[in-house]
Symmetry: C2
Amino acid sequence: MNDQTPKPRSRAGGRNARRALRSAPNFEMLPGLENTLPLCEIMSGSQVERIDNASMDILENVGVHFRDPIALADWKRIGAKVVDETVFLDRALVRDLISTIPSDFTYHARDPQKSVRLGGRNSVFVPMTGAPFLRDLDDVRRNPMLDDLAMFHKLSHMMPALHSSAHHIVEPYDHPISQRHLRITYSSMKHSDKMFMGMTTSPKNAEDVMDMCAILFGEDFIDTHPVTTGNINGNSPLVWDETMLGAMRAFSRRNQPVLCSPFVLGGANTPASVAASVAQLNAEALSALAYTQVIRRGAPAIYGHYLSTVSMKSGAPMAGTPEISQMNFMIGQMARYYGVPWRTSNTLGGAKTFDAQAGYESATTLQAVMHAGANYIWHSAGWNEAGMHCSVAKFIVDSEQCAMAYRMAQGLNWDDFDQAIDAVSDIGPGGHYLGHPHTQDNFQTAFFMPELFDNNSIEQWVAEGSIEVTERALNHARKLLSEYQEPKLDIAKDEELRDYIARREREIPAADELNQEY
Amino acid sequence: MNDQTPKPRSRAGGRNARRALRSAPNFEMLPGLENTLPLCEIMSGSQVERIDNASMDILENVGVHFRDPIALADWKRIGAKVVDETVFLDRALVRDLISTIPSDFTYHARDPQKSVRLGGRNSVFVPMTGAPFLRDLDDVRRNPMLDDLAMFHKLSHMMPALHSSAHHIVEPYDHPISQRHLRITYSSMKHSDKMFMGMTTSPKNAEDVMDMCAILFGEDFIDTHPVTTGNINGNSPLVWDETMLGAMRAFSRRNQPVLCSPFVLGGANTPASVAASVAQLNAEALSALAYTQVIRRGAPAIYGHYLSTVSMKSGAPMAGTPEISQMNFMIGQMARYYGVPWRTSNTLGGAKTFDAQAGYESATTLQAVMHAGANYIWHSAGWNEAGMHCSVAKFIVDSEQCAMAYRMAQGLNWDDFDQAIDAVSDIGPGGHYLGHPHTQDNFQTAFFMPELFDNNSIEQWVAEGSIEVTERALNHARKLLSEYQEPKLDIAKDEELRDYIARREREIPAADELNQEY
């Protein structure tokens, strides 16, 4: 029983094959996550109904501003009470409208192998977007250019846990604002064959994105298959503006999903109460979700939100606070109550550098959204400084953290349980398992081994140059980029996309850039 | 409805009182946590039984080494099968023995206001212990001295979320090993009136701790009231040694709780399988828990474990991995299945400095143990470098993170929900809440504002000296220590404790220090 050198069993591959497997870079995308964690539901059924009721009261009695003549006309047309720009939404109308939002659907990627399901327990990780600065490969904070955006699209393509190349991970400053959405969309499409997001910076820009999607996938195909995602931010409390509503119409008309995202700074644009903040946010999300169905019945739409709480000392938004976790748990419950997929924000940091603060904040948020059962897990890589910069180092580490959370949420492997228990008998008290055949066969997959975290002794760490995690991650990013291979894009489609961009760039005045709708 | 300056309501205190409250340091200990989070149970009932069954098979057929003649004699006496040092435990015997372990109990602190309940949904945060190095107030890594230990005991006393001053948070190198347990215990008792841990470095040392507890609380009192905690580490797989078993007897005989802690390096001293690792660990924990009841029926005991997974690249233990989270969820289920309180390890970092790696690892573990519903949440402050050092900076940040997790686990406040919803009507679409009376009344408590995290703009951060979290935390520690007030200790008891230490130090040869039982 104490035999520590049990008989070797025949195994496929053997030691050399395993060693090769261990050192080979693996860029293969993980399939869409099926989250098996028990849902963290912190409200009782009656508390869910209390939120629902408060939200419906708000929609009926306080109303929502739709600052957009077309939306106001649409609401009037279907019988809602409209006073100036305030729309009062009857709960029966809201419930009827949202009832046709699909509870789940499949996102189609350019590589069909990379299509992913969303809704129910199916989740995807999407990198951050919208950073006006980056911390680059030398950890220098500066304005990003199109090449920097391309770099992030390449990294998104290569990090296994990321299911999307998103859109403007960083704002490319070397191209006129008015034409930027074209270059951003092309970069997303070109540098990765994963799914991507579509710019919603104006209704016309959103139409351009739709046209480019139609070129890439075919007009008929996109009319029946989600291929991209637009984000529609609300102005909390209770306002949707013309830019966002126009962009929503461009997407929803063509059956492409939008995130209906109230933008919550808890305590500043919501009451100083977690439960009431969620009730207000829920009313806001419902009003936008309902409008997607006014635009097109049955169009996919996603319950969104951006969550921050505000420091009453400084007015600054905070990340990784307990109330953000609680609100995530609650919003998950509300979205499931309505049968609509939901979006959250992940790995948010408020630190100025990639220090321990960023680590705590990011991991706290990641764990919360996994237990909350979020579906569209946005801002999953790179976000620091309250979104003001995307850090290359953090992008890499966050992506690996998502892979680790993915593993946690996948659940347990019981397949080899009996063999593993036999190993306990083989080894017996006082032995060790390193040489046991079961260990040899399973160590690659049994325990996740992070690439970016150093667990060596301090002596070894010092001998290797005392490299902290930022530098390790930047080295990793450089290595990835040196190994990047652009996924093949059909030449005819590529030409058509370039022609479209060239034509639109002739049509859109670049000089207008400081005065456009963005 | 859009009125942003609603009528002021009369409020207690007013703005100046609130400002004072905001800036006043608050050292008051949080009450023991009643965790309201839904338990994250990743095993079905039948999977729990499968683990139980596998563990019982191991106890019956593989057996456990009790490398201690007294324990072997004890087991023989009550009818267990003993072959050499292997004890084979029948499942009926195990179930009978553990049935008398209290499912919850109260720890009595020197200040009765700081007594805390343990078990069920009641949890406590306890700082790390056992570090051979510290990173000090200048972030310098060096060997600790008794003064450093005192500093950590003072910080434990002052950080609100810590419920214990533990014992040897760091190893004090300026005192002979053989007498160190006396000074450590005295430092814990003297510098804080929270509960503390008791050294188990040898059976005799454990007896000294018990004697000192009897002086502090009274011999009769401790015989019926838990006042301290001893840790009993197993040598996985399936071995308990003489030192640990003798220390356990010292504690259990006098009715003081011990943590029965298999020491798991997943994949090295357990099979390369999460489920089978838990089955082995469970067998180990049960064997020790059962032995506590052989020593004294009804004595409190705690299901323990130390969990790490091992990098198969380097052999190094890892922290914050997905399998550690999963094992925490599972162990929680097993402990509840047996009706025994359980201990876990919190905020473990493997980083060499207080960098982002440490942040991710620590927060991941903290969130996992909260969702797992752990009771005795040990190593909750300071642990980095796989336990090789305790960092002052990390100690402070971890403690605040525990306070944040505490808030999350406390659950929602619904008391002011209707008033907060009224505020939504008051403010209406497009307003802001900062001046609303409900906000003024509730902003202090509605959203947690971390002291240690900087959420200001980068411009403000740079203007204030670009201070990263390590330096901020060290500044905070210095400020705390400058404000420390030693809690009053009864003079007669203090003298008796000092006399006891003086006598024992005469009796215990200091020269023996390199050759003692530690």
